[in-house]
Homo-oligomer: 333 residues x 4
């Protein structure tokens, strides 16, 4: 006989709703509350999930029935919400990034680094088997030392048009790659040269594309590409690739297609079958794995594999990329 | 507060051990017993899982603490073990196939078709997002009616050399495709022409390859290929493909690579990142999804999406394939 | 100093026009005449190529200036035209197939088997490096003996809608694969089971799809698929694949994409970069290789690698496929 | 009746031998002489080709019978040999690069820019249908304006170990991509940031990898990767990729495989079926197309599509890449 873990989700946009669906599916986990500021949306999700629905996250976080929360809010609200959650001693899964600014990130790093509850940041690719297997091959020495790597994370222009004003390419997209690259390298990034360009998103004052060359303490070079202006009819939701060259071997990740493709009168599509997808009516994929790992950390009293230090380091690289683009030259971290 | 579900696993070979690892990981599920006939292996798994370890499955099935069992035994033991499990009112997940013979399959179909506990057969591809998404596209009418399909399930010769005497190609491999094709078609298979050949496995009296052309009630044609004599150094563990042509669209599944590839001094490999793989030390993939669905069926009092009728129908097609190869002509079901 | 080879092309449809363009480009080959029955089209091509333009092929074939001809006429006109060309002692490149009927094919085989000029049939894939390299690997023993093979040649429904009444799937499409498979096997096909289906092309009385299982003298099995009802917006013009499993190795050909892909507002396309394509305004690809080999056979007094016997054998397999579909059972050759 | 073109090849290493084989195959072209310094090799090729064989290229270039030459010598010999060929009024196909130094390149540019015979530099990818089709799509406006592009040209470590002392990564490999990118852009490169690294080739004082970010006059960004330290058992001889993002569409080139793959006991290989390969005993591919274009330029009195200015511009970018790596910062052209 055991007690189920009682969970709340703060922020019921697309990602927050996925979190709620996954918690609803996990055996013996109980979704007891959601929080949504928009009245209409709050009403909808309350009906969908049949649980408490708060407007104010302070109230949800004060609810003593709740053990653990997913925080899925806009980047600029991360700091304050996490501070309240920490004050209320909740286990916390914060959607990436750690914070919108380096200053906020530093503050969050300080209050979470020795936190005695579970604290984790949702860097999904840590749970993607493809990126995870590369880490395993590195740890087992099969690839030798990293000489250099190239990665790409490109997507159709439909995405940024939804995020105008809320986030930019380095923070929203590139940070995924920054996180796993730092994890692979196992040492500090020291220099960054980045160049971006605004053409199709010029009016929105957003970058179409960024290239960044990051040099690490060990001499390894990482070349990152992020572009979110692919044509709307691109068949792939996210075209992410990795090529990592080590002294003993090479690893490749390629998700141009995910193993299933459709060509019909309406569309050519290569749907995502990695991150969140439905099988037999249930949401599945590595987002579910991430949440299950969070629940298991709580149940077993263990720490997350993603540390506050790592979440902060990703933010530092994002900051350096932005500085390099502004200054037109290589910058130091 | 809730009661965890208590599970036993019968048969601790490779697949049974995966089942036990997954149950150990699922939040709030408790692995309370395993069963293994081999003394040495039983000792190993008892240490690994720290639970009861029976030699005789009759004893495990008589254990009143156990709610649910995975049965992962050789095909010819399926019938008797399921009969005992049913007598003991356990929830049952039986690894495919339903049985070794049509007669045994018929008997199991009869005793499980109205069983009031959960009974399911482990046709893994039902939980593979790629094959599942094709079913969804069919159900949504996006592909129109099926005109024809081709599928392949090929693998290196290392596999059959382990199974000598225990199973053959149609029953062990092709049945996976038969199951999902029947599921896609939604009507009865009526005729089968099959041709096989034994070259590299001639001494083992096993088929190297089988081609089968199955015609369905609705006129649709399915062409199946299974071959398990690919070179040992094949980079892909299972090269499975599907091409389904409908009146409104086409679906393709291709797992020649799973999105991650390694080229190192030792090997070129495209590891499986679908069925069972490890991320951060935890076993993941669609086998875990299958077991989670089984647990959720138990917890929610629902039926499995895989029915005894479907499991029996797959067996009928396997039988027809074998008959066609022997008789050298098309046979009826 | 040398004499250029003077060539005529009979039939100025799409393929015939490619022939004429290639001859125009080949160094020191001279396109001296074309033949086209349609007055409007004949006027156009006369302007395009600036050469003689006949309406009646008998006249072109009687023209003493002409050394060699490409015959690119409808299948049912092949026999008569070749007979006249032979009577006029021309070197002949006949577009595949040899003839429309087995009877015509037999007659052509008889008059060309000992012909003392160059006679060849345009089985293009003999010059496709991919299919050619598989033959080379077989000849070098690298793949061992053929156990079995699967091939596919699928294309959008735009194709057959152009050919209504003129050709069917086995003769127009599948014969390409039949030719190279016979070439690979190096022995006689002995039995054929085929099943086809008409759904989208039912009104046109054409097959949508054919599956054929051909068994060879050496025991090897070939499974052929041809389908020409893929959606109009399919990105690939011809999706042709081959998987050949030998006792020592496996060969794969896959032309789902040809190495270059476009995703634009207008289209997703994977253009052909094998058979005929333009680079810097010049037509290139294996069709050009085929014609150059024909010219070199003439210049050097050698025979074509494609023999009348082989061209006739392909026709015999097509005939067996049609018989098997009609009779609903396996037939002998 | 026409006169055949008489050709000589200077330098009978691997590439020079391919040139000679292709000239031997082209209808009505006559290979009349080769030049090879090494006595043993010269004897071999004289037997193979049955033509005159000079030791000293000055003698070959003074031979009045020869209309045209391929110069396939080490980079540092290009300048002097071209100067003699120009003095002798030969049509010239010079293997890339234009020269080893910027100074030599400038000199060659000056003497060839108004040369009244054919002069071309062997940038092979101009004749590769994949890269050529991208140019065509750009010219037709289908892709809009170039926003940015990424390209890769990676290969196994077996290559550079043969070139020690003779060439480096930027000059030998990256220059291929520089040439077609300049061609695509249609405007001047203005700034280059490059970073390289020597690990496996440290002793040879060669770079393992170079990343270069080139910014063009029109604002477009090109990110180039070249690495030639992939494991020896890499299945692909050259892994070259291109992703070009325009304002209206995207183009991709990917040659990880060329459409044909072998998995045998001995090897996993994806052989080249683009550049030079044998079909039915004849050398084929885009190198043959390049030479045929050279012959046609001679026969028709036209200019090559590759100009001295373009060949010199590629050299200027190589020089800037080297300067940027040395100075550790972005440099101007």
């Amino acid at each position: 006989m055991s007690v189920s873990i009682k969970v709340g989700v703060i922020g019921m946009g697309q990602m927050g709703t996925y979190h709620a669906q996954i918690y609803s599916k996990l055996p013996m986990v109980e979704l007891v509350a959601v929080c949504e500021y928009n009245d209409q949306r709050r009403k909808e999700v309350q009906e969908q999930f049949g649980c408490k629905a708060y407007k104010d996250y302070n109230e949800l976080l004060a609810d003593p029935e709740i053990d653990a929360v997913s925080i899925v809010l806009p980047d600029n609200m991360h700091r304050q919400c996490v501070e309240v959650a920490v004050a209320n001693k909740k286990h916390i899964l914060l959607e990436k990034p750690l914070a919108k600014t380096l200053e906020d990130g530093k503050a969050l790093y300080e209050i979470t680094k020795d936190y005695d509850k579970v604290f984790t940041v949702g860097f999904l690719l840590r749970f993607d088997p493809r990126f995870n297997m590369v880490k395993q091959a590195l740890d087992q020495g099969e690839l030798g030392d990293i000489i250099h790597l190239y990665c790409r994370r490109n997507s159709p222009i439909t995405g940024p048009k939804r995020y105008v004003g809320a986030s930019d390419l380095s923070m929203h997209v590139m940070i995924h790659d920054i996180d796993y690259i730092n994890w692979y390298m196992g040492c500090e990034p020291v220099k960054v040269f980045a160049r971006g360009r605004s053409v199709l998103l010029k009016e929105q004052d957003m970058k179409d594309v960024i290239y960044a060359i990051v040099t690490y303490e060990n001499g390894a070079i990482a070349c990152l590409e992020a572009c979110w202006v692919l044509p709307e009819n691109s068949p792939t939701i996210i075209d992410d690739k990795l090529e990592l060259v080590g002294t003993k071997g090479v690893a490749y990740v390629d998700s141009c297609d995910h193993g299933v493709r459709f060509v019909s009168e309406k569309r050519i599509s290569y749907p995502d079958s990695r991150h969140w997808y439905y099988t037999n009516g249930e949401i599945s994929g590595d987002l579910a794995e991430e949440l299950m790992a969070f629940i298991n950390n709580i149940a077993n009293g263990t720490k997350s594999i993603i540390t506050p230090k790592e979440a902060f380091d990703s933010l530092r690289v994002v900051d350096a990329i932005e500085r390099s683009m502004q200054e037109g030259k290589e910058v130091e971290l």
